[in-house]
Amino acid sequence: MDLLTNIGLGFSVALTPINLLFCFLGTLVGTLVGVLPGLGPVGAVAFLLSLTFKMEPASAIIMLAGIYYGAMYGGSTTSILVNIPGETASVVTCLDGYQMARQGRAGAALGISAFGSFIAGTVGVIGLMFLAPLLGRAALSFGPPEYFALTLTGLTLVAYLTQGSMIKALIMATLGLLAGTVGMDPISGEERFAYGTLTLRDGFGLVPVAMGLFGVAEVIENLAYLGSQSVYETKIKGLLPNLQDWKDSAKPIARGSVLGFFLGILPGPGPVIASFVAYAMEKRLSPYPEKFGTGVIEGVAGPEAANNAATAGSFIPLLSLGIPTSAIMALFMGALMIHGIQPGPLFIAKYPELFWGFIASMYVGNAMLLVLNLPLIGMWVRVLKTPYVILCPLILLFCLIGVYSLNANVVEITIMLAFGIGGFILRRVGFEGAPFILALVLGPIMETSLRQSLLISRGNFGIFVTRPICAVLIALTVAFLVWPVIGRKKKRES
């Protein structure tokens, strides 16, 4: 009964005209960002974050979430039609989706990806609805040592799951933590590394840094290799998958939804990993694995379901523990904190209308996306044809205004440019920006909880291994660090 009341409350928030409008705007911008290569969901959320100051907190988070899951939908459209993933979670969709398009089955691929995403998104939201409050209640007993261990495990896991070099990801995380120490000491209020500047006294702003690393750096990189992209010219007909398609896809969608949801909860780029794992799983379970990569619908349905379920799952640690697990969740945390709302174990109890409104808006948003994506695919294809030479100055202008509008402070534009250049250079030598952003946000939480833990234990580090939850988390951290080393040794021996 309780649940029904809560869902009712949620829909009463989500269905107000203003929130419907913001939900629509979010999914629209999200699809756009997903379709367009060159600006990912992180950059888009960072940009729009600065515009959510004056909104109600519920409207703000509803819109930003719409961008996130909208981008997951939009990204697959370009994967299928032009073999260019709009964002990384749609990379695997290229494998079979593009082949289907070349065989004239673009419609079925787009259709199953949209329906699969819708079903999985809904499964994910239901999971979020049940799991977040449970975990939140459990987290009420967490003290500083548990929080320190959580942040430590989170960052290590992100580095462990990175596609590139683990040591480089760990370095980026450390640099992010260091950047997080700039500004006021979270406990004593003393000034650190601000060098007398007013802007740095509050620390590095999340928005200028994220826009630099994910907006400016990405555009610069694209500018370097400006080439012409060819859109696959195909008549898209028959968007509705036929009965056989549905039969083939039903199980992959179901498996992808469940798998994606749980992988999404883990720290790291949940949707990206979920899509890869789902593809591998479908290939293994399939009676004809050799056909994968030639345009089988299961190879589209599974990963597409998984990445959408994962977006819902990735909200769980943020909303119930107050710990963001990816760059984009770090931005969501920023969006809530701007409004003075601290996500964490008390979040759901303190702001039921916000939590349930957000959940309900995701149902609404998933339905909107189905409408936006299926009949409007022709329009998105035309958007994709917008020449990059026009698109790119526009994206840069949005980055500039977005950062300036935060505090009307030109210095923050400089910070964004510096992180843009730095991010571009680091990316070229194999360092990714995501662990940095995450660490920047987790830094103050980590420092505060570490220092408080030591105060409690009178300087004894044993406190981190004598408390059961803590001990498990620390053991996991050690395992993530040691595992790759052992794996490499074994490889060399064999």
Binding site: L178, L396, L397, V410, I413, V429, M446, R458
Partner: protein, 150 residues
């Protein structure tokens, strides 16, 4: 290979610098850690990680990802874009939003690809006006008014 060694060396220097800079702040004790405690710990961690990266590179365990080469025109586009954006930061408050945005768009559009002036000016003008309408009127963002009163 070479890039990893350069990066690791720079990171080591950075770790050393942070450690020294943090020494000006109170460290406290392990029982009562203070302001310098966390930064100093991180500086040590960064130094250790840089050494691991260095060791991995030198023993050939770490295979650096090869980025595609960027040609001269690519570097020109990047350079021109960054300079124009830095110019935007400098000019925004003295010149005002409309003028600066117009100039930014003209310069960026021309720098990225030589397009006809008529097209460039039309796009730049439209962008400046439409974005002003969206941000200043619709979203209520206070945008700077320059000396020209625009």
């Amino acid at each position: 290979m070479r890039s990893n060694i350069v990066v690791a060396t720079i990171l080591l220097a950075l770790a050393g610098y942070v450690f020294l800079a943090a020494s000006a702040l109170p460290f406290g004790t392990l029982r009562v850690p203070q302001t310098a405690f966390f930064p100093k710990t991180l500086a040590l961690l960064l130094a250790v990680l840089s050494l691991v990266l260095l060791a991995e590179t030198l023993t050939g365990n770490e295979t650096p990802r090869r980025s595609e080469r960027i040609d001269t025109s690519g570097w020109f586009r990047i350079g021109a874009t960054l300079v124009t954006m830095a110019g935007f930061a400098l000019a925004l408050e003295p010149l005002g939003y409309l003028v600066t945005t117009f100039l930014l768009m003209v310069l960026l559009l021309r720098a990225i690809e030589a397009q006809s002036w008529r097209k460039v000016i039309a796009i730049a003008l439209a962008t400046a006006l439409i974005s002003y309408a969206i941000f200043a009127w619709l979203l209520g963002v206070p945008l700077p008014v320059g000396v020209l009163g625009l």
